[in-house]
């Protein structure tokens, strides 16, 4: 077991810098998820921790030791690749035992470790098969099994579930959580799927274009995103943004004038703002209310989707860059073409200044 500490990690491929100085403390036994859009450098960061990419500048410590120049084999890490990367010429058992074989572990011990991992992952009946005779989900289990067998100090997962179908993904997600509880080992998990991040993580690291945008627990990110990017990235369907101007400011409220002239109040500490300054108002689709009056926003209903457990309404609102997405009850009976007014509960609103940074929301609990 070990902690992982990153200090000013930079990585360049030729002249192009991909990681622009990452600082991060991953505690022993913690489950940390790197999340961010495709191409933001998640895999690159994970691969620098694994030792598959050298670090251009900065320091990497695993278990208290500086590992910048340690080859992957000696870092005590195990990695699960997005593409599984199984050894196609070996059976499942041989795949899982490969690391131990290299380490010179006795046959007896090897078999025990493989059997134990196979039991945890329920792949005991597959041990004699070659990878090509396995389904995607089974291959994924083998890849995870190969990592478990070595009893690493740190597990690294690179989008391990992105090749599985939706149902299997949910099942594997639960199993990975269970695995973390049983092994209690430090895990670093990369995904572009914010649902995976929210459900798995102790702490989430939101990456964007090679920078850390915010680090925090899933609920922290959900309730107190530091900027527009994090706010838009965490939560599904994503947060609605409406442009406006600050009309009044206070230590626990801000009034925003929207494009159509209507006023909306948000419970945020706006004392640092300037009256007349441009701001972006944010509200999550699930936080709108339909009870009549005060703090409302109205627009034309473009489309309605009935999902069964809920109804999603798309509203055309002046000043919003995209349609406003509103999550309503399953029984909601609005028709496209109608004009709809929805209430924005003050304490549910988010507010961002012109630079995209969030005003601190007033904590109501």
């Amino acid at each position: 077991m070990s902690d992982v500490v990153l200090r000013g990690i930079r990585k360049s491929f030729g002249d192009i810098e991909t990681l622009h100085g990452i600082d991060l403390d991953i505690k022993d036994g913690e489950f940390v998820v790197f999340v961010g859009p495709s191409g933001c450098g998640k895999s690159t960061l994970l691969r620098t921790i694994a030792g598959l990419e050298d670090i251009t500048s900065g320091d990497l410590h695993i278990g208290g030791e500086r590992c910048n120049d340690t080859p992957p084999a000696k870092r005590g890490v195990a990695m699960v690749f997005q593409s599984y990367a199984l050894y196609p010429h070996m059976t499942v058992a041989e795949n899982m035992a490969f690391g131990l074989k290299l380490a010179g572990v006795s046959k007896e011990e090897m078999k025990q470790a493989v059997d134990r991992a196979a039991r945890i992952l329920q792949i005991e009946h597959l041990l004699e098969r070659k990878p090509k005779a396995l389904s995607g989900g089974q291959r994924q289990r083998v890849a995870i099994g190969r990592a478990i067998v070595r009893k690493p100090n740190v597990f690294l997962f690179d989008e391990p579930l992105s090749n599985l179908d939706a149902a299997l993904r949910v099942q594997m997600r639960i199993e990975i959580t269970k695995l973390h509880r049983e092994l209690n080992t430090t895990m670093v998990y990369v995904t572009h799927d914010q649902v995976e991040a929210m459900t798995l993580a102790d702490r989430i690291v939101v990456l964007n274009a090679g920078n850390v945008e915010q680090v925090g627990s899933p609920l922290e990110l959900y309730h107190h995103p530091r900027n527009l990017f994090v706010a838009g990235f965490i939560g599904s369907p994503k947060m609605n943004f409406v442009e406006g101007k600050l009309a009044a400011i206070g230590a626990n409220h801000a009034t925003v004038q929207l494009a159509d002239g209507s006023m909306v109040t948000a419970a945020v500490d706006a004392s640092a703002g300037q009256v007349g300054g441009k701001v972006t108002l944010g509200i999550r689709p699930e936080h709108f209310e339909f009870s009549a009056s005060g703090n409302t926003i109205s627009g034309q209903l473009i489309a309605v989707e009935h999902l069964g457990e809920a109804t999603i309404c798309y509203l055309q609102v002046p000043g919003a860059s995209e349609h406003l997405v509103v999550r309503a009850d399953a029984e909601h009976e609005a028709k496209p073409g109608e004009t709809l007014s929805v209430r924005l509960p003050e304490t549910r609103c988010y507010l961002f200044n012109e630079a995209g940074l969030a005003f601190q929301r007033v904590k109501n609990s």
């Binding site: 694994a50 030792g51 598959l52 080859p71 992957p72 084999a73 890490v77 195990a78 990695m79 690749f81 997005q82 593409s83 599984y84 990367a85 199984l86 050894y87 196609p88 010429h89 490969f98 690391g99 290299l102 380490a103 070659k130 990878p131 090509k132 005779a133 396995l134 995607g136 291959r139 190969r146 070595r150 690294l156 090749n163």
Partner: protein, 296 residues
Amino acid sequence: MAVVLDKSHRWRVVAAHLGLICFIALIMFPFLMILLISLRPGNFSTGDLIPSQISLEHWKLVLGIPYQAADGRLVEPEFPVLLWLWNSIKVAALSGLIGLLLSTTCAYAFARMRFAFKAQLINSLMLVQMFPTVLALVAIYAIFDQIGGYVPWLGLDTHGGLILAYTGGIALHIWTIKGYFDTIPVEIEEAAKVDGATPFQAFRYVLLPMAVPILMVVFLLAFIQGVNEYPIASVLLKQQDQLTIAVGIKMFLYEQKYFWGDFAAAAILSGLPISIVFLLAQRWMTSGLTAGGVKG
């Protein structure tokens, strides 16, 4: 084959088979002719297609067994054909193995490592190899003459020298193997490295086993090349007992008289090791060895 087929499909299958049979006949015809020439008494290149009389005289000669000629005298084999065959096998196998070793490691470097002038190097390898060997014969002769002055077992008239000369021609093999390495996802070796393998172990235990089919193909090509090669061997080798079969076989064709029958028997003999090596290598040349490693 559970696919539903059209009626006309059967006729297409028949037509395809007919075409294939014609093709095979076309290829087999010269071989059958050689076989017949070697079994016909006397040394003629032409004659009845179906010989009226089968004679093993040429085969006996080639295999080093004296035989009783029609006029009653005992004909002693003139040339050590079996020794030549052995020389050929030795040279071809050793140059194939050494060439395989060099080209595999070389291809690994070109496929997986980063170093300066990589693209230029691999392209110049190809260009140099395109230079016709025949044009370089004089140079090759001079080089091995010189080498022989310092290292006798690599000089003229030695098998060592010939093997060295053959091993020089691996640029094409490097290209072939590199091309195959390029199709194998790097992640599989990376997984091995994270699993605790040194770069060499990742190469030896992971990459190499996946590349066995192409290695077999390359060895086979090098082996065939070694058995069949004529120009270099004819320049480097002079003593009769050092010759390879491709060079030695020419001895049956004098200025004044061509011993076509003996020539044919020896030619078939020289094809034997190639066929055997091919049959042995075939079981390793399975496809799909890398299937299932990564999600496609």
